[in-house]
Symmetry: C2
Subunit: 481 residues, 2 copies
């Protein structure tokens, strides 16, 4: 790959010529600053200009120019990514400033096709708006995550977002029937057919999904819709251990089939954080158990789901798989249980983690991993606190390490790297992944080099060079160089 | 890409040196002939030698040599593919003879991991054996198709096979957690982790799945297991039209959720073929309706599924969505209904089609397409017979055109090409696919050129050149040249 260049004033004028007046934002303007920060303030970004195309044709024109002039392009969705994929950092050796390409103005729902079980949305549609459009047509679009009020579907697809309903409905990848995308040279992949089966050549859809804007810019997607569940059972259950939570999940799935749509593990430490920052909100469970799960079971109405779920839960208590539990009796109680789960990341940010890990493990290794990881953390300091929570049904844990009670993260800064390495080493030893759902971005390129399969990395580099020979797309993301 | 060469005697000796004695089969031997025919006799193949590696290391050694000497390699699974992907044809302009690489000796189940919901199988495991291994562990591996007694999982993945349970469980692609594969240069991708979520770089798994052996040779896979359904309801229902069948499906899915696991459309013509070749086997429905569906609904035991399904079916009759119907009262009746569905391809072969089409359409277009396609066929001859059947729930039809009653296919041979083009044109006009589940192979490379998205084709060529720069893998398949 040849070196990139910084756009000259002439290039910037050419780029502005691709767009209408509302499409160009000076990178020095106040309004541009939100595009240039990582959401937790971990990276300060930079750009030559922020471009906001309003159509696929405008995206194509921009990429054609950037390809011609060898200008880097950082695609930008809702800006909520947690691995720096959307921010090109300042600093020495950062190279020429790129263009930030925000898809926010491409926010139309192009078609709602309930009888095809599909919806066609542009990349800039906010996830919550997409959910609402599906709901308005009497259907469910199941992708659901804490950032849904601001993340955009193009970014969700580019990063293969996960969230709380993966257990039943899969990740963003599994919800996508087809893509429209602009490749590095400005050519447009037109793949929006709402077909369930189409074996006509290589699956570029799946190659682009999860490639974090390094192989193409997703401009629109054809997505799956599902029947809306008529009945929802939500429960919070205290469990003796993470392993018993895994057994509990398997028992529920055997008894209720695909109906188990969410299964979230929550550690007592997370509840302690909630109590610290939101003392007026009650805990439905008494005695602050070390481990609990938030379970949601959904199904069509008239299927007697609530009764069956209640019977099963009673059996779980008898079998010792749960020691306490509360069923949400109404929507307010259900919303409160989910509020608890969804507020954990905010609490984590307020405490300030020494190190955070978005990991996945084979389900059979979860219990052993959690025990061994605690030993690893103890080796750095037995009073370090751990908030381990996440999408247990997918084997996906958010394993976050915090300073001791009353301590501040500043005092532990030197531990960040070593803790992170030790935890990732342990994950690797258990056959797990150091990035379950957040991706690689710019923060985990080193982990990919360390833990990635060398043959896979070589193939990834070959594909990157084939589809983006000048390396303009999201330079520095996923593949470090 | 540079030209391939035919293996010299020295090359063949080198290749044989990679294998044990049982691994080399002379291409002229009788035992080699089954590897050199298309299952319906449509293509006569050729090879310099048949190689049967027993390990991933042997596959890697073979590919390293073939890459070095520029020898073509045709990967071979169960040989049941229907688009010629597994057979390099004889004839003028065929180029140098390739090596046929059969994975049949790599037929070990490497691990059954019920608590991880996964099974790890080598590419040569016969699909039915894989289903049995899952069943032996109290789990379900849901991929199911007519060829399951002889097709092999490596071929199923290489072609992204579909079958009768896609509606609920997805295609082969959706059932795969990870792959081990050998790339053109002999490097080995080691991706067998049984993880549900792993966002660490480009998804090479999905790129290899459906690439029909042109980007790499799949040697093993980590596959999803599901709880075995405790209750199964199977019904055959006469429907007034294909459109009412689609409405019926949507109504069932709204009422029963994900429980609808199969939904097959069968035309009266197919039943007429069955009666001709299997006159002693009864039709559960009287009056030979023009259209019927075979529906299967599954769920956990104790969920009262049978009762709910019976109630729903009664409502469907009242709503006029079904005019007649039979519920399988026991396993023998269920097996008979499925035998009817699974025997249709055999009947089609015995009649001898003028043209066959494996197509998919948006569900909302099914009814219109079927009506318009009959008009198209009538334009070639109103007495031509049509057997239209398939996986309606996925929008996937097998649309087969036959000579008039008493006529022979020989008399209609000149119609084959024009009928095929006219049907594929109509599919394209309705936003459908000319290959829903069979793939491209060597028989549909022209269709891919005609109907494929030019930007997609260019990207496919770039990826092929990047991963197989010498073009040794399955030359002539998918991309014609």
């Amino acid at each position: 790959m040849t070196a990139l260049t910084e756009p000259t004033p002439e290039h910037l004028a050419e780029l502005a010529g691709c767009l209408d007046a509302g499409g160009v934002l000076d990178a020095a303007a106040d309004a541009a600053q939100p595009y240039l920060v990582e959401p937790r303030g971990l990276i300060r970004g930079r750009a030559a200009v922020i471009l906001k195309p309003a159509s696929t044709a405008q995206v194509a024109a921009i990429l054609r120019l950037c390809h011609g002039h060898r200008i880097g392009v950082v695609p930008y969705g809702g800006g909520t990514g947690l691995v720096g994929g959307q921010v090109s950092p300042e600093g020495s050796g950062a190279g020429p400033r790129p263009v930030v390409l925000s898809l926010e103005r491409m926010n139309r729902i192009r078609a709602v096709l309930p009888s095809d079980g599909a919806i066609i949305a542009e990349a800039g549609v906010v996830l919550a708006d997409l959910q609402a459009a599906a709901s308005g047509a009497g259907r469910l679009f199941p992708l659901s995550l804490a950032a849904e009020g601001s993340c955009r579907i193009g970014g969700n697809l580019a990063t293969n977002a996960g969230g709380v309903q993966v257990l039943r409905y899969g990740t963003a990848r599994d919800l996508c029937l087809g893509l429209e995308a602009v490749l590095a040279d400005g050519s447009v992949l037109a793949g929006l057919k709402p077909l369930r089966k189409d074996n006509t050549g290589y699956d570029l859809r799946h190659l682009l999904i999860g490639s974090e804007g390094t192989l193409g810019v997703i401009t629109a997607a054809s997505l799956k819709l599902f029947p809306r569940p008529g009945e929802v059972v939500t429960a919070m259950l205290a469990v003796p251990s993470p392993d018993s939570a895994v057994t509990l999940l398997q028992t529920l799935r055997e008894g209720l089939g695909d109906g188990v749509s969410a299964f979230e593990l929550i550690a007592g430490q997370g509840i302690a954080f909630l109590a610290e920052f939101h003392p007026s909100r009650p805990d439905p469970l008494g005695g602050r158990p070390d481990w609990r799960v938030l379970v949601e079971i959904t199904g069509p109405s008239g299927a007697g789901l609530t009764g069956r779920a209640e019977t099963m839960l009673a059996e779980l208590f008898e079998a010792g798989l749960a020691s306490d539990g509360v069923l949400a009796a109404n929507e307010a109680q259900r919303a409160h249980m989910w509020w608890m789960r969804e507020t954990l990341p905010e609490c984590n940010r307020r405490v300030g983690p020494v190190a955070s890990h978005d990991i996945s493990l084979p389900l059979s290794r979860i219990g052993r991993f959690i025990a061994e990881a605690r030993d690893v953390v103890d080796g750095f300091g037995p009073s370090l606190r751990v908030n381990c929570f996440g999408h247990l049904g997918d084997g996906n844990l958010h394993y976050n390490v915090f300073p001791p009670e009353g301590g501040r993260v500043a005092g532990c800064r030197a531990l960040a790297g070593p803790v992170r390495t030790a935890i990732h080493d342990l994950v690797h030893a258990h056959g797990g992944s150091f990035s379950a759902e957040h991706g690689i971005g710019r923060m985990k390129t080193g982990d990919l080099e360390t833990y990635g399969d060398p043959a896979k990395l070589a193939a990834m580099r070959a594909i990157k060079a084939a589809l983006d020979p000048r390396g303009i797309l999201n330079p520095g993301a996923v593949l470090a160089g």
